[in-house]
């Protein structure tokens, strides 16, 4: 169980996408997410969805692993969709029954909104599916390094981040062990009176906190003994280098986004023409 947490959603397949530079993946994911808000036509959605599917295939991820992250927010998406459907009042009226009015514009806006949310979440989850938390932290540190100029302690923040990440699985493992140990002494976590349950929780929380302080102390001591010094220039064990594949990935994603932007601002008619062509009289 702690392994799930240790690697986040990380799904190891050693694909070219996994091997991309974490910084590139971070920036491209950001670009993808921002680009999503500039889509106007169904044509644009098809382009972005195609890019997503292509990436999933190259990353050799099971499509289910991507959809799983969507499942978590499906309820919110549905509620927003239904509200949208009933609240948009302009455009051709399709259904009118008592106080309910559904218009063609409402339908289109709703479909587009659902598409946008689903693509957004899937796109973001691709990052965590193909990049370990440690890589993400390293990537963020590297991207934030210009902030050093305005005296932001980027190195300290990065060290804190990596230590926190490093100890999440340890804490989880320890919590599981403590729960097991106290259960073995009859602690009632999911049965019994409220008082008994609170006692059971306390029997896990107190040692967890005490042990964390002890561990933090030991870690600080060990870092000190190895002359850890956040101010000196430190080098990385794993150096991040840009490769040819990173360039290709960037061209692919940015190219798609450029087409989406062109579709919105310069060739709006093309997108709408394509929509008509694809969906016939529906649009």
């Amino acid at each position: 169980m702690f392994k799930d947490v240790a690697f986040g959603q990380y799904y190891p397949t050693r694909s070219p996408v996994h091997r991309l530079d974490a910084r590139v993946k971070l920036l491209l994911t950001l670009a993808y997410v921002v680009g999503m808000f500039f889509i106007k036509s169904y044509f644009g959605f098809i382009l972005m969805a195609a890019l997503l599917v292509f990436t999933v295939i190259v990353a050799r991820l099971p499509i289910l692993s991507v959809l799983r992250s969507v499942r978590g927010v499906m309820l919110i998406v549905l509620i927003t969709a239904i509200l949208n459907l009933f609240l948009v009042k302009d455009g051709e009226v399709l259904v009118h029954w008592r106080f309910i009015t559904i218009t063609s514009n409402g339908v289109h806006l709703t479909i587009k909104m659902v598409l946008r949310l689903v693509l957004l979440i899937s796109g973001a989850s691709l990052l965590s599916l193909t990049t370990t938390p440690v890589e993400i932290a390293d990537g963020l540190e590297s991207l934030m390094s210009p902030l050093k100029l305005i005296k932001v302690p980027v190195r300290d923040i990065a060290m804190i981040m990596s230590i926190a990440l490093r100890f999440i699985p340890t804490l989880f493992e320890e919590t599981n062990k403590l729960i097991a140990a106290q259960k073995a002494r009859g602690a009632a976590f999911d049965s019994g009176s409220l008082f008994a349950r609170i006692r059971a929780m306390v029997s896990v929380l107190i040692p967890l906190i005490v042990n964390s302080f002890r561990r933090a102390d030991e870690l600080a001591f060990a870092m000190d003994a190895r002359c850890y010094n956040a101010t000196d220039k430190r080098t990385k064990y794993k150096r991040m280098t840009l490769r040819f594949a990173d360039l290709i990935a960037a061209l692919l994603v940015l190219g798609t986004i450029v087409v989406v932007l062109l579709d919105r601002y310069y060739f709006a008619s093309v997108g709408i023409y394509m929509d008509k062509l694809i969906f016939g009289g529906l649009v």
Binding site: D4, K177, A180, A181, Q182, R185, A187, S203
Partner: protein, 328 residues
Amino acid sequence: MSAIEIKDLSFIYSKGTPYQKQALKDVDLSVEEGTVLGVVGATGSGKSTLIQHLNGLIRIQDKKRGSVVVNGLDASKRKERARLRFEVGMVFQYPEYQLFEDTVAKDVAFGPKNMKLSKEEIDLRVRRALELVGLNYEGFAERSPFDLSGGEKRRVAIAGVIAMQPKVLVLDEPVAGLDPVGRRELLDLIGRLRREVSPTVLIVSHNMDDIASVADRVIALKDGEIVADGTPKQIFGDRALVESIGLEVPPAKRVADMLEERGIQLPPQIIDMDELEEALAALLKQKEGIADEAQTAEATCAEEGDMRSQDDSCAVCRKTPDEEGEDV
């Protein structure tokens, strides 16, 4: 009557994910009441997974095939599993890290309280458990467990389990991280607990020397399967077997093997230091006898040289068995 009856038990962690891991594979095990069973195996061989099935902490995955019954209580039935918690006392690795109350007495009382015993009974049990693990009740009851030494903390934690008076006691790596004296004391304590509280004891360890000195029977796990089952002598006396499991033979066995390589005949299957010492002493006496009878000065001299070298190795192995084993 067998205290523990395990049939066809398999277990897979994170089933259906890329991290899937088969931790147990068709394990069959029957343990007689009154046995001290040693469970050995390399790290990751499934020892902890196996023992956590005994008190229902880990549910049986395939109930149609696998079954776990302890003293007649079936771990696959919900009601009986609840009773199993108190029938099987489980001392986890580094149990001192699970202490949480502000006094020793309260911490030891946690288990009995969860059993919903009367206040008098709880007090009685706490007192008895502390005395059993060798902590004076008056001296320790009101102290904070966080102020104790490592060895004392571990005793308090064990007392916390003993106070539930389980019929089966399971200890996962009970001597890990203790110094040699602490180790010896804890192993003696286990003998005492077996006589006074829990007739059946399971000890998990990857240190052969500890198991060799306390267990009546040993099972060895490898990759989730029981690959050997026998007396400590049968298992630890067989170097090829022990090494195939991914473990090291006890130091005494290593020294004995080295002596035999140099042509010194010893009784077979020596696995602990006391035995080795006795065997060497007997051998020396025998040699002295031969030397007395020997007539020529030459022979006596040769024997003496031989004897001195043996005597040396004996003295060395008694003082620093580990070093002797590794240096040579």
